[in-house]
């Protein structure tokens, strides 16, 4: 992790605390957002970490997406039909 003389810098430890909320688009506080981006603009280690985390999220999304099997889709269709018939 890098050290800095920048008095406005939040430092790596604070950046780590904000890291995942930022990457997930959940850092609502504009000040915290700006502070985080300022730190990322000059901390090579945290910036590199951010790139890796984004890459990992992308790979996770590609790997973990599941597709419901046809048999389940058929089953649910029949279930819905049965429930609709029961209402009439």
């Amino acid at each position: 992790m890098n050290s800095t003389d920048d008095k406005h810098d939040i430092g790596c430890l604070k950046a780590i605390e904000l890291f995942y909320a930022y990457l997930d688009g959940e850092l609502d506080d504009p000040t915290a957002n700006a502070d985080f981006e300022h730190h990322m603009s000059h901390c090579r280690s945290c910036y590199s970490r951010q790139e890796i985390e984004q890459l990992l999220t992308k790979r996770m999304r590609e790997s973990a997406k599941s597709q419901a099997p046809d048999v389940l889709q058929d089953r649910l269709r029949k279930l819905m039909d049965g429930l609709q018939d029961g209402e009439h």
Binding site: K65, P69, L72, L79, M80
Partner: protein, 177 residues
């Protein structure tokens, strides 16, 4: 449908159980749809029904790691978690091996996800794979939003640790940086 099945699969662990779990959740959602006042909240609502079905009917059948050691509401949990880790992991964490992440196989990532405590697995799947917001995931899992934030930090760090261990086993990591 695919998203529900994906989370059910991760919870119940086997294809047939996951199908039963989704079918039960859909049936309960159908019969309770009139209780959903805000239709824009359908997604977290049906995930919550799925989760409740799992806890009430399926969990006893599944063998999963204990969650008793989770300290997920502690604001300083991430710093504490990092403090507990070996120096070699912290070096890796701060200086990630890009090539490893470029080459890592989907199955390796899935194994790392499966190694997490159940609550963390589901949180990561809902947010990073299925795209729920923290607010939606909190509603789906019936926990405060702060718990979701905390879980994401701990889960992603533990995921990195699991990948680091696999990279070590594969001889990719070095303690000399």
């Amino acid at each position: 449908m695919d998203a529900l099945y994906g989370v059910a699969l991760r919870l119940a662990g086997r294809g047939v159980d996951a199908e039963d779990l989704v079918a039960d959740a859909v049936m309960k959602a159908w019969t309770a749809i009139d209780t959903l006042a805000d239709r824009s909240r359908f997604r977290p609502w049906i995930f919550r029904i799925l989760r409740n079905c799992y806890f009430s009917d399926y969990r006893k059948k599944a063998v999963r790691p204990s969650e008793s050691s989770l300290q997920e509401d502690d604001e300083h949990a991430l710093a504490a978690l990092l403090n507990e880790q070996p120096d070699e992991f912290l070096i890796w964490w701060a200086n990630p091996e890009r090539q490893f992440y470029n080459d890592v196989l989907g199955e390796t990532i899935m194994a790392a996800i499966r190694s997490l405590p159940e609550a963390f697995q589901v949180t990561i799947l809902l947010i990073n794979v299925e795209g729920l917001t923290y607010d939606e995931a909190a509603a789906a899992l019936d926990v405060p939003q702060g718990t979701i934030r905390s879980r994401m930090k701990r889960a992603r760090t533990l995921l990195q640790k699991s990948l680091w261990e696999q990279a070590q086993d594969a001889g990719i990591t070095s303690t000399e940086q």
